[in-house]
């Protein structure tokens, strides 16, 4: 799990049906994502991807394999 402001690159998906939905929303492998915000109760989360913000539940986010980018913050 990323911390708000942390960046990562999408590597692959573990859930077929969800991956199709996410692909359509612009989450393709190689795309850079940033954790924008976590909802007050800890779920769902909002990520910044290709210029816009997408919200999704933690369980849905868990089906995406990511590679952390060492942010030089």
């Amino acid at each position: 799990m990323l911390a708000p402001g942390e960046r990562a690159v999408i590597e692959s998906f573990t859930d077929k049906a969800l991956s199709l939905k996410l692909l359509e929303m612009g989450c393709s492998p190689g795309e850079e994502v940033m954790l924008e915000k976590v909802a007050p109760l800890g779920d769902p989360i909002a990520i910044n991807i290709s210029g816009y913000v997408l919200s999704l539940r933690r369980s849905e986010a868990a089906t995406v394999r990511i590679r952390r980018i060492n942010s030089v913050a």
Binding site: G26, P40, N48, Y52, S55
Partner: protein, 714 residues
């Protein structure tokens, strides 16, 4: 096209685009007030279409425009999306367009191009609109439309639907000669060649991509071709994933060639989000907003609602004076006009609620509400988007149920629709007030807690918790293969567009008045019949007696009788009316159901009220007034006194004891006594099944809970 023969050329176009791409604003800008909303055949998905005319080289062209539900892709994930795909891919569909207008959000071109690419690959004439180009420019994003047009092989227009710039250019492009895309977006032949050839052989005339969609469709329907497709190594999800990756590659190249770098999210939205989705502040602001909304629906709507009711009452009085006496006039004034007033009286509440909802939706705030509420609601099988309907249900379930359309998952929407009427609506308030005043002492405990107010609050909480509990149970019972998503875009904040808000209000009010109105009208007429007719001599005598007293009153008024004399006559008339109601079909029904409601502590008089208030709960108060001969329906005070004195004929104890009172309160809190709600649920679910289940489950719940309350308290 039949246009050749007609003097006016026609063209059919479809607008397709992502949610939040400004599609509806563009639709409104193109068609203005010449639009209609209906349902797609067989499903309750909004179908908006409108007409406009454009002059093209001296010839007038009549354009029919259909606004498809927002979608991210041509592979449907919800009912709404399925409809959009069906219209675009099925050449047999009556709405199949001559030209498709793809609406893209210029500030988010990358995602928009995904859908655009799919539409282009269908090989049919299309135009790409880069909407919100002004906003993109302001944030420093420049898109080379001409270059993009060259690369895509279709016309590309940059415009702003909100500012109404570039609309005329779009109109001209819409009526220009039809041209298929100069070339396809992607070379899918390399991705799944065998299946496409198979399908094309079976269904000649389909383009490559149409054939691929047909293959997906046939596969899901277990068509005979499925085995052959299997043998050819076709896997729908693998094919979709491959197509998707392929598209993203191409999109990346186009974006790199036609735009500068993607600018950051507007700082204003970021700042606002810090506050509106704050850990504590977010909920406080949301509660405040709800409070304002609730107050206006509850109190502000009160004024126009009173005017409407008084206006209809005056109209009824005038009609019965002017029209010749007889059953036809009675039917018109007491049945039809009363039914109409029952429909129209909801208009202010519906308009106000949808004013707020359209504002919240248009500004982008609704997505945040769902975001902060989703986790709480999910525990009960609801969705983040169920919050607004549930809260609105405290004003009136009718507009609340209409607002469940924003929930995309079928199951979550159905559950929300089913439990919303359990929230205590404003129609219950007169009933609650009357009964609470009857059984709860007007006392204060502990210095601050007013007992009657506490009871009222407890009833509202009871409804709320029962709604959550019912949702939780239904979540276990309803099985669906559809998955619940919360993959949702968080749009940037924008000022709501007034014309959009007004269109939304107008549309919801119109739909309610016409669709729900029909059912309400019919039931009102039936109830009028039950309450005004009876069989046998006793009923006829009761009616004659009432008519005789009415004649006496008219005579006495003409002769300028003293107020005392008049009062005696009014009381006599009220008693006669009460006797007539007792002898009517409704009264007989009340006696007939008495054994059933006896365990709850009710007598046949309450039975009549239960029957008449099936149409609307607030009718309870009026019926009580008629039964107990209090005469004036508006005057609650005397009814309460008469009811307090009422003794049971068998036991001699007061009828309205604490036990009966609570039993009745709980019955009115749970039972579905509202024809408007039933009509709206029927419309929104497009079947009688759901309102049927709802009526039964709420009825059983009301009966069981009332019985329990009566037994425990007596």
């Amino acid at each position: 096209m039949p246009a050749a023969a007609a003097s006016v050329l026609t063209r059919r176009i479809a607008l397709v685009g992502n949610p939040n791409s400004g599609k509806s604003t563009l639709f409104n800008a193109l068609t203005g007030l010449h639009q209609k909303t209906g349902n797609f055949p067989g499903v309750t998905v909004d179908k908006k279409h409108g007409n406009f005319r454009v002059k093209y080289q001296g010839q007038l062209v009549e354009v029919t425009c259909i606004d498809l539900p927002g979608t991210y892709s041509l592979y449907p994930k919800s009912l709404d999306e399925r409809v959009a795909c069906e219209v675009l891919t099925n050449t047999e569909n009556p709405d199949f367009p001559d030209l498709t207008v793809i609406v893209a959000d210029a500030t988010n071109l990358k995602r928009s191009l995904y859908l655009a690419g799919q539409v282009i690959d269908l090989g049919r004439p299309c135009v790409l609109v880069l909407n919100m180009i002004d906003e993109a420019a302001r944030s420093g994003l420049h898109i080379d439309a001409a270059r993009l047009s060259n690369r895509l092989g279709i016309p590309v227009l940059a415009l702003s639907a909100r500012e109404k710039t570039g609309i005329d250019e779009l109109r001209q492009a819409i009526v220009a000669p039809l041209m298929p895309p100069a070339y396809l977006f992607s070379d899918l032949a390399s991705v799944v060649p065998d299946v496409v050839k198979l399908v094309q052989k079976e269904f000649p005339g389909l383009t490559h991509y149409q054939a691929l969609h047909k293959a997906h469709l046939l596969y899901s329907e277990a068509h005979p071709l499925q085995a052959i497709m299997d043998a050819a190594g076709f896997s729908p999800s693998a094919a979709q994933a491959e197509e998707s990756l392929h598209r993203h590659g191409i999109i990346g190249q186009h974006i790199a060639a036609c735009t500068g770098s993607q600018p950051a999210r507007p700082p204003f939205t970021r700042k606002l989000d810090k506050i509106l989705t704050h850990r504590i502040g977010g909920y406080v602001i949301f509660l405040l907003l709800l409070f304002v909304m609730f107050q206006s629906i509850f109190y502000l709507a009160e004024y126009p609602m009173t005017w409407i009711e008084e206006g209809f009452a005056a109209l009824r009085g005038w009609c019965s004076d002017v029209l010749p006496a007889g059953w036809l006039t009675d039917l018109f004034t007491e049945g039809i006009l009363a039914g109409l007033s029952g429909v129209v009286v909801f208009v202010p509440q519906i308009a106000l609620l949808f004013f707020f909802i359209a504002m919240l939706e248009d500004s982008g705030y609704m997505a945040r509400v769902s975001f902060i509420m989703d986790k709480l609601m999910r525990r009960f099988g609801l969705h983040g988007r169920s919050v607004i309907p549930l809260i609105s249900g405290m004003a009136c379930a009718v507009p609340a149920i209409m607002s469940t359309r924003t929930i995309s998952s079928w199951k979550e929407r159905i559950i929300t629709i089913m439990v919303t009427p359990l929230m205590s609506c404003s129609a219950r308030l007169p009933v609650y007030t009357l009964l609470i005043a009857l059984i709860i002492p007007d006392e204060t405990v502990g210095g601050i807690f007013h007992l009657q107010a506490l009871t009222l609050m407890a009833l509202y909480l009871l409804g709320f918790f029962m709604a959550l509990a019912a949702a939780w149970v239904m979540n276990l019972l309803i099985k669906t293969r559809e998955r619940s998503w919360f993959i949702m875009e968080m749009p940037v904040y924008r000022m709501p567009k007034w014309s959009n808000v007004l269109y939304a209000i107008y549309e919801k009010v119109r739909v309610f008045v016409i669709d729900a109105g029909k059912v309400i009208l019919i039931v009102s007429v039936v109830l009028w019949f039950l309450a005004s007719y009876g069989y046998g001599d006793t009923f006829a005598k009761a009616r004659e007696q009432e008519a005789a007293i009415a004649a006496q009153i008219t005579a006495a008024e003409a002769a300028a009788a003293t107020p005392d004399q008049l009062n005696t006559l009014y009381q006599a008339k009220a008693a006669a009316a009460s006797h007539k109601l007792e002898e009517s079909f409704a009264g007989q029904l009340g006696k007939f159901i008495e054994p059933v409601i006896r365990p709850l502590g009710y007598d046949w008089k309450i039975g009549i009220s239960l029957i008449t208030s099936l149409a609307a709960r607030e009718v309870f108060v009026g019926t009580m007034a008629t039964i107990y001969g209090a005469g004036d329906e508006e005057n609650v005070e005397p009814i309460r006194e008469i009811m307090r004195k009422e003794r049971d004929q068998l036991t001699g104890k007061p009828v309205y004891s604490t036990a009966t009172g609570f039993s009745l309160l709980i019955f009115y809190a749970f039972a579905l006594q509202c024809i408007s709600t039933i009509a709206v649920v029927k419309r929104e679910t497009n079947s009688w099944l759901w309102p049927g289940i709802q009526f039964v489950f709420m009825g059983v719940l009301a009966y069981a809970a009332s019985w329990l309350a009566y037994v425990l308290l007596s």
